[in-house]
Structures are given as C-alpha cells and as structure tokens.
Symmetry: C2
C-alpha cells in the first residue's frame, strides 16, 4: 500500500485528485498508476483503470487472475466493475468513500447478482494516511473559508 | 442508433462481442466505437468507454456536456459510471441486459445516491436488432448443441 500512497502523492503533484493504485502478482509489481483524469482529459483515467490497463498490456492478456490490486480509496462503480472484469484476486483499499464508493458503500457492486467475479476484499488498509491526504487536498481546493 | 449497430457489426467482424456506441453533439458524430476488449487485451475497452475517451480527446475536455450517447446494449456498471462522470446528457440504449446491465437492471447505478449526474435515459431503442445480433453471436460461440 505504500507504493499506492506514493502514486497518490505523485498524482497530487500533477494537480490530480490524490489516488494511487498498484497491481502485484507473486510479490512483483506489475503496474502502478495515479489518477490522470485532468492530464488526459479522460474521465475514465482513474488510478485503478490505468493500473488494470497497464497490467493487461504488460502481461498481454485480458484477465489478471492471481493479481492483487492495492488502491488508496474505495473504488467507484466504474473501477469496481473493471476490477471484476479483470478477475483481480484480492482488492485492498484505504479510505472508505461513502459519497462515491461502490464496494462497502453505494451500489456495493461485488454483492450484486450482475457481478460475475468478486475479489476477496480487504478494506481500511492504511486508511488514515489515504483519508488525510484526500481531506487536505479538498480543503486546499475549497480554500480556508469553506 | 443505426451507426451504433454498424459499429457493433464491425466489432463482431473483429471477433469481439457485437456492441457499438456513438456520441453525438448538435447532430454531429463526435466519436463512434465498438468493443475491443480482445484486440486490445483491455477489459475496460467496452464500446461506451472507448467512445467517451475518443470524444473527450476530440473535444479536448474531460466532460461531454450536451453530448448524447447511443449504445446497442444496456451499459454495465463500469460504463454507466463512466457515462455519469462524462456528464453525458442523454443515454439511448438498445437491448436490456438483465445479467450484466446497470441502468434498468442490476445496481441501477443512475438511481443510487452515489451517482452525482444521471443522463436522461431512453431504453429499448432499436432493441430487436441489437438483441438478435447478440443472441446470434453467443449461439455461434456456444455451438448448436447448447
């Protein structure tokens, strides 16, 4: 998760919402990414989606069986479904996201019958650091008076 | 929707699940795409995601306000969330997808409080043709005895 947090910090330095993700297989980093929605003008360029696309590219396959994904924030519905399609084995995430999450919040995608593969789910891994980083980011964006 | 169906047919010719999408703004086609998950080894390369990414790239912006999306099959949770993030104005879709859809089926993403923008939704547009194409595709894949 430390590497995912580092990716989140790099995203923040680029002016993006600080969220980072890493994909690991057999102890080896296959891909790592931070949010790039603004830089790429691409609303689908969440850290998880970029990490999944990079990992699939690196391995030359459409599925990531045996791969684990670490991400600093609870995935949204887009990313949860992408994680399912990619057949990720284990999902470790940091802060919960009651406003936009789709794992333990919102639509709880992995528990729905239209989800055909659910990873093992490990929430609240390194939660405090990820949450503090996001809180600080949004406080700065809103300005001190909000 | 005819152009979306044409994209679905092109996808089928490439060996992909036959689903196509088109994005229109003020009567003009901004992007059109078919599924490319196999070709690109990318489980996120659904027709809607590709069309959104292309449209954002073409317009140089992260949001597609005032744009309408036509797709031959009910979007999944990944695509529904991407449609929301992109601020698509109107969503027209063909066949409903009770097994994997997320609009009128499954998690009904646009009706959830964690969805912060919902398009106007027009289901069952050109439904018969889209459904027949998908049915024929999966029958061929399974073989005649199934």
């Amino acid at each position: 998760m430390d590497r995912a947090v580092a990716q989140a910090r790099l995203a923040e330095e680029r002016g993006e919402v600080p969220i980072g993700a890493v994909i690991i297989r057999r102890g080896e980093v296959i891909s790592e990414a931070g949010n790039r929605t603004r830089e790429l003008n691409d609303p689908t360029a969440h850290a998880e989606v970029l990490a999944i696309r990079d990992a699939c590219g690196a391995l030359g396959q459409e599925r990531l069986e045996g791969c684990d994904l670490y991400v600093t924030l609870e995935p949204c519905a887009m990313c949860a479904a992408a994680i399912s399609f990619a057949r990720i084995r284990r999902l470790y995430f940091g802060a919960e996201d009651p406003k936009g999450g789709a794992v333990t919040s919102g639509v709880r995608f992995f528990a729905n019958p239209t989800c055909h593969h659910s990873p093992e789910i490990y929430p609240a891994i390194g939660e405090a650091e990820s949450a503090a980083m996001l809180r600080a980011f949004f406080q700065t964006k809103r300005g001190p008076e909000d």
